[in-house]
Symmetry: C2
């Protein structure tokens, strides 16, 4: 009992606080200046006033979107740059350590292996302890959040810290991990924190719709400041996180991502890394003749092969996760020693890349960034054997092996990195898979390019001019194609242009990316969707490429017809039955079982609360009491309102609450009182009711209330209330009897929270349209109605089943194409008119009560 009443007080206090804030919100300016002026009176007063006006102006401006976006861009650019700096330092430290110990191979090996293992283990442990939500990419989670699902603890400061530090360590280890996915998450957290911070200045940031818009912009910022690719960032984030994109958010993403990318690159200039603002992985391919038309088949081959490769990567990644989960022995062992798996994986991978060991066959000493720079290199490596004019200078040396040629090195690199990346991305640290895949793709492209260059040493062009083949261009194409295939996006093409600073290969890149997407999408879900499935996040699969059946499956084919519902004139017993027979989270509220007119939907919890209020011991005791003192309730009811207030204002002792409830039902059937009888379950409602009660009275007659409190001696009455149940108990059989009796009463819905306009569909809506509406509005379920009558329900589950069923060609009955012929004609209008006629007939009966009788509605009251 204490607990419950404490809760009541809690909501009251919250409401009161909110009320105060509201008052403050209405008039924040008049107060602060006067306050401040008081103690600065006389001295530089005008100065202060001026400063205050500036401050006020700033506060007003803080509400603007662009201030938020600039701040977000700035913060994220700083974070990105600082992280890059830290990662570079970490990698340099490893190189330095490895280089310094070149006298002893064993020591070298120890240093090479221990360093990443320690970093990864620390990263895994740190995130595990601080915020396990920081693990992984974050894009799948952002996708679900942007769909309207609330994931707990995903956008908090703790997760932010865990993700930033964990990611820095993970990337600093030199493992094949990416920065992009986590950056989307980091930017979103940053936006959420920033909007919470800015909401201190004004109320604009409290709106949920606005927050979603800002999160969408933040995703763009995340990609944008990670690659200094504003356009690609916006497009990639749209493709990866949204199903439907509001074009009015477009400028937000562009603005923030551009600003962020700008600051990110300016920091590099400021740090003397670059002379001016240029692309991250600048290429220098020739502009006048970037590629020959006859090279296009080779680019198409890269695209198709990348499609298969991407699908294989997603499959491999999922299988590894599933294998780890399924093997119970391994699983149990790993659960105990959570840090063993990351350490083990790191150990294996770093052992294999050890440069004096196997690493020499796969350019093991190169970092991810160096690898990309070398792969996008302008020169042709393969020709080296022929006319020796080309030398492997600087970091390019890594690809040169005295006992093998560059083709073998590339093949080994691709094969090894492929499974390594798929394995490494399953480590429970903050990490993405975009960059490793990008590197593999680049290597594959390079391989094809080098092969082409070796095949056509003087280029393909038949004219007099000799245009040699540029393998670097192939690498660019391959990178875009493979990353596009893994993520199922086309915008990797744009990212590639922005990363390399050259757009001359636009057509090959687009062709390869589209082909890769076509192949990969028909084989596997995207990496992010795959993770969503593994993590069982609430999602809705996309409609695939050109599945026409979707236009011919209708809601009536997939909806659940046999649903439980609550009628307006049902009894508590019916509620109990409904609760026992279904697990639906939202129950439809219909007018009556006969008419089935949908009035709204009521949450399961609300129904439970209604039921528990009806059968609560408090009510039972009240009944008992009313028997003893049949007039007591009514006598007390007049004074109870004021008494109520008195206890609220005078003291916070929980004892008085016992008095408050028992008196309530006496007032329950008075319809004119605006805020009567709150149920025990819906605590927030009670708070509100009390609040409005309090406010109204306090406003009209505050002095009277206080006087009344003093007169009544609240605590004394409370004591009486608490002792009462102890004095007159009820026997168990009596209780059962009483409960049975209570269950037969009609339900009073006035206190329940009802969604007055649940989303409705018609039976003939196509699956395609239903999917659109569900993903547009972020629905969880929708009721199917026909002229106001409830006929069924569709939830995400049914929809998912239907889509996946039709994707695999089974599960759902697929209508023949021409069935849509009937869409707006015969069959539909037939069903409609029948339904309408029934309704109409019922109304006819209404007007002739002799035939049907007024009690006719009651027959079918019990829910099916």
């Amino acid at each position: 009992m204490y607990g419950r009443y404490t809760q009541d007080l809690g909501t009251f206090a919250k409401d009161e606080a909110a009320r105060l804030r509201l008052q403050e919100g209405d008039t924040p300016q008049p107060r602060r200046p006067s306050e401040l002026l008081e103690y600065t009176q006389g001295r530089c007063g005008p100065c202060r006033v001026c400063a205050l006006q500036c401050q006020r102006f700033l506060i007003a401006k803080v509400g603007e979107d662009w201030v938020f976006l600039i701040l977000l861009g700035l913060v994220m650019a700083l974070v990105s740059w600082a992280m890059d700096f830290a990662i570079a330092t970490c990698l340099q430290a490893q190189k330095w350590m490895y280089g310094g110990l070149d006298t002893n191979v064993l020591l070298q090996y120890m240093a090479w292996v221990t360093y990443p293992t320690v970093l990864i283990t620390f990263s895994a442990g740190f995130t595990q302890i601080l915020a396990p939500q920081a693990v992984g990419s974050g894009i799948p989670e952002m996708k679900t959040i942007l769909r309207g699902v609330v994931l707990k603890e995903y956008l908090t400061l703790k997760t932010f810290v865990a993700k930033v530090i964990g990611l820095t360590c993970a990337l600093g280890s030199g493992m094949p991990l990416g920065k992009e996915g986590p950056f989307v998450h980091i930017a979103s957290m940053c936006a959420a924190l920033l909007s919470r911070f800015l909401s201190l200045f004004g109320g604009f940031y409290e709106n949920e719709a606005r927050n979603i818009e800002m999160l969408a912009a933040a995703c763009a910022v995340g990609v944008g400041c990670c690659f200094a690719a504003p356009i690609g960032g916006v497009l990639f984030s749209i493709e990866v996180t949204s199903t439907f994109f509001a074009v009015r958010n477009y400028w937000r993403g562009f603005f923030a991502a551009t600003f962020s990318a700008f600051i990110f690159r300016v920091l590099a200039v400021w740090n003397k890394d670059e002379e001016t603002i240029t692309a991250l992985f600048k290429t220098r391919f020739r502009l006048d003749f970037p590629f020959d038309l006859q090279e296009l088949p080779a680019f198409a081959v890269i695209g198709i092969a990348s499609g298969f490769g991407g699908a294989l990567f997603v499959y491999l990644n999922r299988k590894i996760v599933q294998f780890m989960r399924r093997q119970k022995a391994i699983n149990r062992f790993l659960m105990k020693k959570r840090l063993l798996f990351p350490a083990l994986v790191t150990l294996i991978i770093s052992t294999l890349t050890f440069p004096p060991g196997f690493g020499q066959f796969m350019a093991g000493q190169l970092t991810q960034k160096d690898t990309l720079v070398t792969l996008f290199d302008n020169q042709t490596w393969a020709k080296q054997g022929i006319n020796d004019e080309f030398e492997y200078l600087g970091i390019l040396e890594a690809w040169l092996h005295p006992r093998s040629n560059v083709f073998i090195t590339l093949v080994v690199f691709i094969l090894m990195k492929f499974w390594m990346s798929a394995l490494a991305t399953t480590i429970p640290v903050p990490c993405g898979a975009f960059m490793p895949v990008f590197v593999i793709g680049a290597a594959f492209g390079r391989l094809v390019g080098e092969s082409m260059a070796a095949w056509f040493p003087d280029g393909i062009h038949t004219d007099s001019n000799i245009y040699r083949i540029v393998p670097g261009g192939y690498a660019v194409v391959g990178a875009a194609a493979l990353s596009g295939a893994v993520t199922h996006t086309v915008s990797t093409a744009v990212i590639v242009f922005e990363l390399t600073g050259q757009i001359s290969h636009i057509l090959p890149v687009m062709i390869a990316v589209i082909l890769a997407n076509a192949v990969a999408q028909s084989l596997q879900p995207s990496l992010y969707d795959s993770i969503i499935r593994i993590k069982k996040l609430p999602y809705l699969p996309e409609l695939g490429w050109g599945h026409h059946e979707k236009y011919n499956v209708r809601v009536e084919d997939i909806m659940v017809r046999d649903i439980r519902y609550v009628t307006l004139n049902c009894k508590y017993r019916d509620l109990q039955q409904v609760l026992h027979s279904t697990k639906m989270k939202n129950l439809p509220l219909v007018e009556s079982a006969e008419s089935m007119i949908l009035l709204g939907s009521i949450e399961r919890a609300q129904v439970g609360a209604l039921l528990s209020t009806q059968l609560s011991p408090q009510r039972r005791l009240l009944t008992l009491r009313q028997k003893v003192l049949p007039e007591d309730g009514h006598r007390l009811s007049d004074s109870s309102i004021r008494f109520q207030i008195s206890t609220e204002t005078s003291s916070g002792a929980p004892a008085r609450a016992a008095l408050r409830k028992p008196l309530k039902p006496a007032l329950k059937r008075v319809p004119s009182s605006p805020a009567d009888s709150p149920p025990a379950g819906s605590t927030d409602h009670t708070g509100i009711a009390l609040k409005s009660l309090f406010c109204a009275n306090a406003a009209t007659e505050p002095t009277e209330v206080r006087a009344c409190v003093r007169r009544m001696g609240g605590p004394l009455l409370a004591l009486v209330g608490r002792l009462y149940p102890l004095l007159c108990p009820m026997a168990p059989p009596q209780i059962l009897d009483w409960e049975e009796q209570q269950l037969d009463q009609l339900v009073d819905f006035s206190s329940a929270k009802i969604d007055p306009a649940p989303f409705q569909l018609v039976e003939h809506t196509s699956l395609h349209k239903t999917h659109t509406i569900f993903s547009l509005l972020g629905l969880d379920h929708a009721f199917v109605t026909s002229i106001g009558r409830l006929v069924g329900m569709v939830s995400l589950k049914e929809l998912r089943k239907a889509i996946e069923g039709s994707l695999t060609g089974k599960g759902v009955k697929v209508r023949p194409p021409l069935a849509s012929f009937r869409d707006s004609t015969a069959s539909s209008s037939e069903a409609d008119t029948t339904a309408l006629r029934q309704l109409w007939d019922r109304h006819q009966h209404h007007h002739m009560p002799r035939e049907a009788g007024p009690g006719g509605d009651e027959d079918d009251d019990t829910p099916k």
Copy 2:
């Protein structure tokens, strides 16, 4: 009775037809081969079977999206290339004519002026005669079409032909007109025609949702193949035409646009215009140091100035149109001589650009394409005076004037072209404004760039290396910024990269475009929105940049509360009253005036039809007849089915209609008939029913029907029916009496077409969310309900008013920012519970008929 049975038979026939077609759809293969095999028996049979299988495979594949998209891309690329070729030929012809007459300036002038005037006049006349819908850009119309509005004749073959030929002539004239906007329209028409053509092979192309998706892809193709800019095309078309973009359409646009751009450029290679596939306006800026950080302020200045310039352009364009419309004298004169205005405008513009005349100060002899090529030139013009190393070669000569310097030429060019373009785009020919604006922007950028180059002749960079300023880069930035400002898009940046083939200036371009957008959007609507407003197309304005009030205005603030409605148990008199008192196109159908439970919505036309059926002379005559022959109707009903057919097949005399209708009401109250009594107004339904009736019967039992007709002697019966009203007329007072009597009858809704699930909103929905939902679902109106009860209505009109009101800060009561705090708490739940309580109380009364009486519902039946 005839009428009813016709309809019954009609639906039966329709179902039958559908069933037959379904059967056909299920098993199309077994029939066709056998048919064909019959007459090819013996001879090369296996060959035929093989060919048939191929054909079947092709037909199956034709339904795939990608086939459609490839075809679309191919056709559009061909159209684009052919048109470019024709335009180039036209322009060359003009140049040749002008060049050939260089002996006589007057003749030269005549040739220079007459040629474009004739072309423009022909273009205006041709489109006017063939399809006036082809006039103008087409993007505003596509925007409305993609919002779900059906614009008549906009996607027909006639319009296609008119637009293609009209556009070619208009652009061939050398006027400052663009190709982009019309190309969006042309591609959409092409898609619509193609999908109609392909639907001959299968039923997939009949779906409306799919067509909209294809149209969206077509818009991307339009831009893509116009500029060979697939990515920019997709993004631009999204920004310009959509409010909400379905990401699943993304690949369609990319695929089709890429293919189209590819073919477009391959055609250029094939035609030996280019050596390989490159950008349309290729630039050769240096890659290593594209621009200095300290140049950024200059780029920002370009952006801001372009913003103002863009807004001015839109304003000027609108003012010209409005001026032409407002001046009645001009208007009347122009309406008579429709071709005078285009001719006059062309005359003025071409006179001013005449190269030996004023044109010498504004590079008048350059075509749009040449102008762009020169403006994007890599060299610096202004330095010419200093060290003379640079010579104006080839077309660059046009910018050189012996008596003035390049700055003056550029300023004159910008000023003249500005008003010329604004004026020229109001000519009623197919034309866009993108390209002219793009050129002006490039010139403005060049001007700033040349100024910068003159100011810092040795570049700004403080290090040892000298990097000179590249004015061509400024031109690129200016072009993107001004075109972005006019169209309110950010994707012009991407278009610019794809057009020039260089992405090195990405940050300056992005900064300038965003600033230009920020300025322009706060001053004026986009050019397309401006045209939408001028043309009064049904549209919904965008929510502006960061207007927070939108989150605080709610539906209850803007909805129409005093709406007319139809109750289920109303009388025909009420329908009449409703029709007289409102002009709403959709009337809500509620259960009763007391409960106000929304059941559906009914179209105004349907209500009218119901009313006119009830008061039709046919029914009046029937009543009369029933008095005379009370049993006649029932006797006739048995044979009427065949009789009906007989009249349809034998003759088309209108007399039979009189026979068909009168018998209906006798059967009106039979509740089990599924589809009875069609209203007189819905003629198309009857038509369809009759047609399918005829077809179905002809297919199933043609001989029997013919026989039956002969047996029955249809014409005789028809004659009887026709003579009947003449024999027994009704006096006018009798008619009035009869009508009054009829109006008091209860309405029978069973024949009306009712939308069973109109879209519903709740009172507390914010304006922001309402806007989202309206634009997402393309709604026209929505009912506002509260627990099933109708409380108001919001239509596009109210929404538009509210948005525009809050944009200008008046009209709508704006809530204080913190009002959203109440969103899900006190006030809302209070109102809800009160409403629920009313409903509940009503039900309580239901169960205690002694208190309220069963007739209680009838009191408030008449609509308010």
